[in-house]
Symmetry: C2
């Protein structure tokens, strides 16, 4: 660059407000701390187990999808090449296979026309919030603490999120009713409530069956949608029906992810939006129009890989993930056992006991902030996630999230041991 | 569904304004007409040539990238699997390879840290507009007619687009200066001007070298960014330097696409944003934060396929596309020749003569609207794109866009013959 020429300068004040929101800054900070202490045992990262990754599977899945196009759909070589190489339809090329998977694993009867295949859960969330935020009055309800991906999509669409309290049985239905009443009083229009009934991130908690029914009743009575996030449901045992499977009045927009059950590196998710739009088609058709302006279509190659995994496993990702689910169960039980062994007698230290998913919430009688995390990483060699990051920095300062998904038994024993060292040093 | 339960109903009035914008409705209409007349010769679709698509290339490109990770980056099998299967860094896993391609083919020296790999050009455009739209005052300038993808990204981010006139030499620099003055008077803050200096969609026109220099000067003098779209530049002959290659003051945000030169089905694009943000890093870092909230990361599998194509071709997509470029050149010349042969003597019928890209603009002495398109499809068996769709329905009603990218010589001869039949029947 010619040093005589003035370079274009930008300032953060002239960039979109989401970029200076504390939630975004805090996620960056977490990543920085993790990067600075690569040798610390990470009970922070919520990534799926990696030991069964095998590059040859990508080739195999692509071949499975190719066989499907040739044998089941009677396509010729030129048609198959076009399907994989060329721009595809915006809703996706595997909606029918996703619908078969939902029938097989979730007892959800989804019309493929109501399915939009997306670039992961995150794009699906963005599309739904973009569609529903039509005026300044529109707000979204979500349990607090909540998934940072929801916070991010809300920031990008300038959607205010009103927090609803959480209980050990998921979203607090009394507080939900209270917030709906408050919105009515204030002239806000609640478009939807975001919920994760199974093994929520970050708490690990699930809703029981009566609470699911009651939530559906409240939503239908108030004319709001439920945005159901089910990233972890398949990876549990004794599974309860999803809200979408119980839904009889198109109250639920179902947000699916193949990141944990298919392959994170394909970045394929989807949304089932079978709500009718007056004078038009389905909400899925509207989401598809938005997607056409955002990413045009989900990479057909990535969709083909996920399709191949579905085809190779008779559409059941519950069965396909039997080994992974067993490992997550083992890790959960092992971590809970180690917590009891190391911290069972520690005064004021408690934790919940999720039956699935990736996360455990630990409560301690002292402040858990980013300084403590840095101290833990530097002096104890262990990483976790301070819970306040899931409260927008407004609460949760005596809790932390432990993730169990990436660990081996040895790392769990050592990780909990190091955590116990940190915790006991802080106790009175 | 239980018929006694009232289904959730939505109305378009309660959905985001972009969904009822005429631009979105019109693109849907075009697709519907094309779907209804599958046997019409399509001179409408701007898709890349398909005859060289070969599914085995996907496997080969994946292997090339795998070899690169093993041999050049000394990664072991577990590391390679993790790279392809697991969540990746938000900026992308192939930024360094994209930078080498830009140096090789475009003489652009891009720091890999300034590159964000995106889900196609479209996501890159969205991220840039989302970042730059910070207040109600912020507007974008763009030549009219303009690419519908720009219109879509602007709608999603609630960004007003102020039109700037076009000439046969690209954007009208006098009108650009006029619009900048008008914005100043009205208190609007112009953040950027979108331009496609090479073979623009929809007009096919390019800017000469003096106009490129002058555009850079105007932008730098007014402190606005230029958003350079270069989807087609590599597919021409006697290529001029891009704005980014001429840029000495970080005035240009460069938006790249591998859809035409790599593989549409990978849906990989990128943005080079080397602008410094006061108190922070690069604009690319801010775009990466937004991407983390939108799609988390571009599918690593799709990135790997594009990386493999770059590696197999010594980073030159100009060379890799020599066969395709020759076909596009042949198709352009053939179409222009057929237009002369069939319509050279037709009064009031003219067209431009692009030297590259996919598109030709034809001007006729009668109204070209969607009714005419439907008539052309039904009664003449030929499809084109009425130009008013690229003017937001406000102008261009005596022009049409012809696309030459997907056709064979036989289809070009027959397509232009059918078009000539339609045109001559309308002449006085």
């Amino acid at each position: 660059m010619d040093s005589n020429v003035l370079s274009h300068q930008l300032s953060k004040e002239t960039l979109h407000g989401s970029l200076t929101d504390p939630a975004i800054e805090s996620m960056n900070l977490l990543n920085e701390i993790a990067d600075r202490y690569p040798d610390a045992i990470s009970m922070a990262a919520g990534r799926p187990y990696e030991e069964f990754f095998d590059v040859s599977l990508i080739h195999d899945y692509l071949e499975a999808y190719r066989d499907h196009l040739r044998d089941d759909r009677r396509m010729d070589d030129a048609g198959i090449s076009r399907m994989l190489f060329q721009y595809g339809t915006t809703k996706g090329i595997i909606s029918d296979l996703v619908a078969r998977h939902l029938a097989e694993d979730e007892n959800i009867e989804a019309d493929p026309e109501s399915v939009v295949v997306t670039v992961g859960f995150q794009e699906a969330m963005f599309l739904v919030l973009r569609a529903l935020r039509a005026s300044e009055r529109d707000v979204l309800l979500a349990p607090t603490p909540t998934y940072v991906g929801l916070t991010g999509a809300a920031l990008l669409t300038d959607t205010p999120v009103w927090p609803v309290r959480s209980t050990g049985n998921g979203i607090d239905l009394d507080d939900l009713a209270h917030q709906l009443e408050r919105a009515r009083e204030q002239g806000a229009r609640v478009r939807a409530c975001y919920v994760t009934p199974d093994f929520a991130n970050p708490t690990g908690t699930s809703m029981d069956l009566p609470a699911r029914h009651r939530l559906l009743e409240i939503a239908a009575a108030h004319g709001i949608l439920l945005l159901e996030d089910n990233a972890y449901g398949l990876l549990g045992q004794d599974r309860l029906p999803t809200l979408k499977a119980l839904d009889q009045s198109a109250t639920v927009v179902y947000l699916g992810s193949f990141a944990k059950t298919g392959m994170p590196g394909a970045r394929v998710g989807y949304v089932v939006a079978d709500q009718h739009v007056a004078g038009g088609g389905l909400l899925a058709d509207e989401l598809s129009k938005l997607k056409g302006m955002l990413t045009v279509n989900t990479p057909p190659i990535a969709q083909a890989v996920i399709a191949g995994k579905l085809l190779r496993n008779d559409f059941s990702l519950a069965r396909a993930n039997a080994r992974e689910t067993a490992i997550y169960q083992r890790n959960l039980h092992l971590t809970l056992g180690e917590l009891t062994r190391r911290l069972g007698a520690a005064p004021g230290v408690t934790w919940n006991a999720p039956t699935g998913g990736f996360f455990i919430t630990v409560t301690v009688p002292f402040v858990v902030d980013d300084d403590l995390l840095e101290h833990a990483a530097r002096d104890h060699g262990v990483l976790f996630t301070p819970m306040h990051h899931f409260y927008g920095g407004k609460d949760g300062f005596n809790q932390l999230r432990l993730s169990i998904s990436l660990l081996t038994p040895q790392l769990i024993e050592e990780g909990v041991s190091r955590l116990a060292g940190l915790v006991t040093a802080r106790l009175p």
